[in-house]
């Protein structure tokens, strides 16, 4: 089965998931991103690569923050950006996902940035475009269900590489609601592909997916032993609706067992960095003293995110 992200020449034509991306492709994206990072520091923060191209932000699930970062990235590449709030318009009228796509293709879209609540929705769109013979239209997955959030995974790798240079000897802990987290899955694929020494998946059994160890991680239930000697700690957001009841007794108990406090972080390596995909729940998964502390690199993640998204769009649109 051909990797649906690659075209007949083996070039990256969609970014759907980090799973199956060769190490060289990930490295190329990160290297390109570092060039784009410099662009953001210039007088004119724009390059003309995507001039005349139409990028459609198609968000079936609301996320102003992610949509904005894609919008900034596309605009810095000189693309025309059209934001569609599909949560309200078409689906409410009974239009299917592929109807929406057909309509946008008819409007000469060159790239879709898609967020959808269902895992696999961007794959469906990419497959549909292939059947239409429209491989010149590119799909970027901006988060699908619990499956993948590849640009977040890539910007996390960019951040780690920025502070740690090499992946080979790194111990990385991913803490929290891995079950529902597309970020965790993308980070795990990226870290294992880039050769991190150890990736620890940390949380109570109710928040860890079945057979997660098959993805190449070590499962830990105890936060202290999981954080010990870590180089990188990635904290995941705990959604409000998961806090009370079936998966966890309460936010208070969760923070007591899995919240990252300065005392717990002290167990990690002294130069360990703390990451979070945002938005943070202070006092639920992370203590404010850690979130605002010297080891947190949460805001640099946001800055790097724009450069990484520029790199992804720049590479895809050229293939």
């Amino acid at each position: 089965m051909r990797n649906p992200q690659l075209n007949a020449n083996g070039e990256l034509t969609h970014l759907l998931s980090i799973e199956g991306l060769p190490r060289e492709v990930i490295t190329q994206i990160l290297d390109t991103a570092s060039s784009f990072l410099k662009v953001s520091h210039r007088d004119v923060k724009k390059v003309p690569l995507l001039r005349g191209k139409s990028v459609f932000n198609v968000f079936f699930e609301n996320s102003t923050r992610t949509r904005t970062t894609f919008e900034i990235a596309a605009k810095r590449l000189s693309a025309d950006v059209i934001n569609l709030d599909v949560t309200r318009s078409s689906t409410a009228k009974g239009e299917t996902l592929l109807d929406t796509v057909d309509n946008l293709v008819a409007m000469h879209a060159d790239m879709f940035v898609v967020r959808h609540a269902a895992s696999g929705a961007p794959h469906l769109i990419a497959d549909h475009l292939r059947r239409l013979g429209r491989e010149d239209v590119h799909v970027v997955n901006a988060g699908d269900g619990r499956h993948a959030h590849p640009t977040q995974g890539l910007l996390d790798m960019y951040t780690i590489r920025h502070y740690k240079t090499e992946f080979a000897n790194l111990v990385v802990a991913i803490v929290g609601d891995i079950l529902h987290s597309r970020v965790a899955r993308s980070d795990i694929h990226a870290l294992t592909t880039l050769g991190a020494a150890e990736v620890r998946a940390v949380g109570p059994q109710t928040l860890l997916p079945t057979a997660i160890e098959k993805m190449g991680v070590r499962v830990c239930h105890d936060l202290c032993s999981a954080i010990r000697d870590c180089d990188v700690v990635i904290m995941l957001r705990l959604q409000n609706e998961r806090m009370n009841g079936a998966l966890l007794p309460s936010a208070r108990e969760y923070f007591r067992c899995y919240g990252l406090t300065p005392a717990v972080l002290a167990l990690a390596r002294p130069d360990a960095i703390v990451m979070h995909p945002g938005p943070m729940n202070r006092g639920v998964e992370i203590d404010s003293d850690v979130a605002d502390g010297p080891q947190a690199v949460i805001l640099p993640q946001v800055t790097f995110g724009i450069a990484v998204r520029m790199a992804v769009m720049g590479i895809l649109a050229g293939n």
């Binding site: 794959h123 469906l124 499956h147 079945t210 098959k214």
Partner: protein, 418 residues
């Protein structure tokens, strides 16, 4: 169309019900098997069918096939060599009223292709709250009662449903799955679902419901058939019950003999099934159970249109078009598992007929002349055009399969000729 007198000659007759596997001619008169081997005295054939190089077997009996539109699906059935099929009650509306059953029987009789045996709803609207009028439904033509894919969550009501069915000697068929454990699930709770971020249905959802059904059946004495088992654990429970002398039967959908969770690939909605495709080890346990005769095979034919499949995996409808693939996929399994043809065909003829308690799946003298002539080596490509069913979706689209039906008889009438 009047029944002709027919002679089917030169074929290899494989009739599991009678333990026959030999080069024997079959003589048909008055819609029934008139003789095997030598013609009865004074027989003249109005039509002689040459079955040289082909296999002649009883028409296939399918334990579960959903009919969307009746005519195309029954045409698909006979094109696949299926002459009798049991239809689950989860049609729209569900088969919980005698009038609906009578209409289905009448319409399928009018179409006059495969024989249709309705399975009645165990509870009204399949809602699992109030018992359906089982006696009235049986009088209208239902041969067993089931909840199709729906569970009876209230175990007291399940007990009562079994007791009531047992009162009249009706068989109860259950697709065992615990509603709570399967909530929102769309795929086997294993490494593939975890990787793809799909909500999983754990094996315990099936094994717990199986154990519950077995215990209640033992308690009530109802005749129980478990439909479409998907896991090694559930098969193990059925084996143990049968070893303990309980007359429980079960079946496995033909796709589950071949496919596993891995076949979901990159969210292929054609691999979305209910119950889900499970781990390779589960599939292997299902294969052994069928080889051992513990389980029969059904097509679980479910025609789904493009609108139902061209959706993100979790939103797509489960099921596949399978009436025309039942024979080739059974033959493929038999070849791969080195199961003799006689045993393999038993799983789709005499075994399901016995489970349904219908006079079918046998070519003994005097039996209805429901039969299928197929070329075991004749291969064909599965394409939307090749399928007569209105459901064009199957994981086997594009595959080349062996086992091509040449001719199908129902009651001595040629209902399909390829």
């Amino acid at each position: 169309m009047n029944e002709q007198t027919l002679q089917i000659r030169n074929g290899r007759l494989v009739d599991p019900a009678n333990g026959v596997d030999a080069r024997l001619d079959v003589f048909v008169a008055g819609g029934r098997v008139a003789a095997i081997g030598q013609p009865p005295p004074g027989f003249t054939a109005q039509r002689v069918i040459d079955a040289g190089g082909m296999i002649v077997c009883p028409g296939l009996v399918d334990l579960s096939a959903r009919l969307g539109a009746i005519e195309p699906e029954l045409a698909a059935a006979v094109a696949g060599g299926v002459t009798s099929l049991a239809c689950p009650p989860d049609s729209k509306p569900p088969l919980d009223e005698p009038g609906l059953v009578e209409r289905l029987v009448r319409r399928s009789d009018t179409v006059g292709l495969a024989r249709v045996y309705p399975i009645g709803a165990l509870t009204q609207q399949l809602a699992g709250e109030r018992l359906a009028e089982m006696n009235g439904l049986a009088r209208a033509g239902c041969i067993a009662f089931s909840q199709a894919k729906r569970a009876i969550v209230d175990t007291q009501l399940l007990l009562r449903a079994m007791q009531y069915a047992a009162t009249f000697g009706y068989a109860v068929r259950l697709r065992p799955q615990d509603d709570f454990l399967a909530r929102d699930g769309v795929a086997h709770d294993g490494e593939v679902a975890s990787r793809l971020g799909l909500t999983g249905i754990p094996v315990v959802a099936e094994s717990i419901a199986t154990a519950t059904a077995l215990q209640l059946a033992a308690h009530t004495g109802v005749r129980l058939h478990l439909s479409r088992l998907s896991s090694a654990a559930a098969i193990g429970l059925v084996r143990a019950a049968r070893d303990g002398g309980m007359p429980v039967s079960c079946d496995v959908a033909v796709h589950h003999l071949h496919l596993s969770e891995m076949d979901i690939g990159f969210f292929d909605s054609n691999a979305r099934f209910d119950p889900p495709l499970r781990a390779a080890s589960d599939r292997d346990a299902l294969r052994s159970a069928v080889a051992d005769g513990v389980a029969a095979i059904c097509s679980d034919h479910t025609p789904v249109d493009a609108d139902g499949k061209q959706l993100p995996f979790a939103e797509a409808l489960p099921g596949a078009s399978a009436l025309e693939l039942l024979l080739p996929l059974t033959l493929l399994w038999a070849t791969q598992s080195r199961v003799p043809l006689l045993s393999a065909l038993a799983r789709i003829t005499s075994d399901p007929a016995a489970i349904l308690g219908i006079a079918a799946g046998s070519l003994g003298v005097g039996a209805a002349a429901d039969l299928c002539i197929f070329d075991p080596d004749g291969s064909w490509r599965v394409t939307p055009e090749a399928l007569r069913s209105q459901g064009k979706h199957t994981p086997y689209l594009g595959y080349e399969l062996s086992g091509r039906v040449h001719l199908t008889l129902v009651g001595g009438r040629v209902v399909f000729e390829g």
